[in-house]
């Protein structure tokens, strides 16, 4: 290496210029913005951010707020059920489509199209379908089941399941596609071998295919989980958080505190909690995925 090199800064200048938007986004918005929010979650900001430090007060208040606790509970119920159901339904549908059937493309298109629709559209359609006076409940009652009163949108105890039905309708198609791609990646010879040995198909799926698809399952779980924390539009459209506060979720709490409640500090604290939740999911995954075999 020669000792006199052109100024390092100007080497590869075009590439650096092309990367300026990325560097700004990464450093200012993602890195800077996150730090800013965390720092200001320790202040007493109301309508505008102020540097009046109050320590962990906002967090203490947050965890003493009934609405936040309900939001967390809802997110837990919705999150766990939606993970379990999307994985199971997605896997079963993918397995059905993987049976060398005809019209596979048609079936796949039908199952996937809801994913193209927004959560707002999804929420509004299901709000109408589950309408207790005119929707599905009315049809069921008209069929002779007079006492049928499954009213997810007006019954605080089960409202979160009404949202779950809509969420699953919208999202399972994607999971099915990811699973199907994973199944197609499995060597055909494994199927032949298990057929020769006379192992029934369902056993092959449970004991051979699923363990082999572990990476697909993990990726899918991370995708579902990181999307779950943000569940917002669906709730706003379908129930608006109601009845009362029965279907509130953390993302809505943050928005309402910041932009409607003029209580910025609470919003910052709540969003920091969301960040911590994502980190708890993400860090072990990133560690498993990239930790051992760091690329050069």
């Amino acid at each position: 290496m020669s000792s006199k090199r052109p100024n390092q800064l100007f080497r590869n200048l075009n590439a650096k210029i092309a990367s300026v938007p990325m560097i700004l986004t990464a450093m200012v918005v993602f890195f800077g913005g996150t730090i800013w929010t965390i720092v200001y979650s320790f202040t007493n900001s109301k309508l505008l951010p102020r540097e009046k430090w109050v320590g962990f007060d906002q967090y203490e208040r947050l965890w003493n707020t009934n609405r936040w606790l309900i939001s967390i509970e809802n997110l837990l119920i919705y999150g766990i059920l939606s993970m379990v159901f999307s994985l199971v339904i997605g896997f079963v549908l993918a397995a059905l489509l993987d049976q060398k059937i005809r019209f596979e493309n048609t079936f796949r298109s039908i199952m996937l199209y809801p994913y193209a629709l927004s959560f707002i559209v999804t929420g509004l359609v299901w709000q109408w379908l589950l309408n207790p006076d005119l929707g599905i409940p009315k049809v069921v009652r008209a069929l002779g089941w007079e006492s049928f009163d499954f009213d997810p949108l007006y019954n605080a105890d089960i409202v979160i399941y009404g949202i779950l039905i809509a969420g699953l309708w919208q999202g399972t198609g994607l999971i099915m596609c990811l699973m199907l791609a994973g199944m197609r990646g499995i060597d055909e010879d494994i199927w032949k071998a298990s057929r020769v040995d006379g192992i029934p198909a369902w056993k092959t799926y449970i004991f051979i295919v699923i363990p082999m698809m572990r990476p697909v399952f993990i990726t899918t779980l991370v995708i579902i989980a990181s999307g779950l924390v943000r569940v917002y539009d669906l709730v706003v459209a379908q129930t608006g958080g109601g009845p009362g506060i029965a279907s509130e979720v953390p993302a809505k709490y943050v928005y309402d505190m910041m932009f409607l409640g003029q209580n910025l500090g609470q919003g910052f604290a709540a969003s920091t909690m969301m960040l911590i939740t994502v980190a708890i999911i993400l860090i072990p995954w990133a560690y498993l995925e990239f930790g051992g075999k760091r690329r050069g």
Partner: protein, 310 residues
């Protein structure tokens, strides 16, 4: 990440030569197994199609028929009045010019956002793949991890940035927001694609004296049209369907379609007109649906790449 393009059809069973019957005995068409599989798939398909069907049917009925009848029944008298009303007369707040306003706003937001974000991300991905410089990977890693940070964390800092730039509440501001938050997934998409193009090609062009932009425009761009289409699908559907950024960074007269739709349907005043609501909902869903049915396989590729964005 799983590559959804890996979805391929199983090899068709080749027809035997012209001679006598060959190969395994054909399976009976109506075996119990087939009835089970197709039966299940058809039931499932009905579940997935039902909401779309109900939307269409409801939007074509008059209100009296909706109140009396069955939600699944086809309309006895088809009327397009709800569609006209949803498009041109439905009220949000003080404006009574229907969803057409939101539609126009969404178009004005989506078109520049898609173009700008793809231009920036493709050049950037190209720089990361072929012109690596010191420190690039650090920024890229931060960017990718940024894709997982809940948007709520960055909402307010972004408000401050936009306010400082003087574009808070304008459509231009929302375009910037979409460009920023679309960057992780698009940059990843382009970087991975450009990395997969054989390096010899790049080196040969270098030897011939081509520079950064020449290689980009003359070699990379013509070779990567499919990935540009995938990026466009991700961005158009993503931005069109966005609600959170729309509601935070715009004002009532610049609301995108999704926000306006939600305001129309969930407004508490007046009598609920379910047929108008469903027509409005369908209108909003139409753009992504059309893109979905036109783009077919590329859409699958796009959403699986975009799934990280959530």
């Amino acid at each position: 990440m799983v590559d959804p393009t890996g979805i391929t059809l199983h090899g068709e069973v080749g027809a035997g030569a012209d001679g006598g019957p060959r190969g395994p005995r054909p399976r009976r068409r109506f075996s119990r197994r087939n009835i089970f599989i197709y039966g299940t798939l058809i039931v499932v398909s009905v579940y997935y199609l039902l909401p779309l069907y109900v939307m269409i049917v409801t939007s074509l009925k008059g209100m009296p028929e909706i109140r009396l009848g069955n939600i699944f029944a086809p309309p006895m008298e088809i009327t397009f009045q709800p569609w006209v009303k949803a498009w041109a007369q439905a009220c949000t707040g003080l404006n009574c010019d229907g969803l057409s306003r939101g539609f126009m706003n969404s178009v004005i937001i989506t078109v520049p956002s898609v173009i700008i974000s793809i231009v920036i991300a493709s050049v950037n991905g190209y720089a990361l793949a072929n012109w690596r410089f010191k420190g690039a990977d650090v920024f890229f890693t931060i960017l990718i991890f940024g894709a997982f940070i809940p948007y709520q964390v960055m909402l307010y800092p972004m408000v401050i940035i936009l306010r400082e730039m003087g574009i808070y509440g304008t459509l231009g501001g929302l375009v910037l927001v979409h460009t920023v938050f679309g960057m992780p997934i698009l940059t990843l998409l382009f970087r991975n694609y450009f990395t997969s193009i054989p390096e010899e090609l790049f080196k040969a062009a270098r030897v011939d004296g081509a520079g950064f932009w020449t290689i980009y425009f003359k070699i990379m761009l013509p070779m990567s049209l499919p990935i540009f289409v995938v990026a466009m699908i991700i961005q158009i559907t993503g931005i069109w369907n966005d609600f959170l950024f729309g509601v935070v960074y715009t004002r009532p007269d610049t609301y995108p379609m999704t926000v306006q739709l939600n305001n129309i349907v969930n407004s508490v005043q007046g009598v609920k007109e379910y047929n108008v609501n469903m027509a409005a909902t369908l209108l909003t869903g139409l753009v992504p649906l059309v893109i979905y049915f036109i783009s077919g396989k590329l859409f699958v590729r796009g959403i699986a790449a975009g799934a990280v964005k959530g």
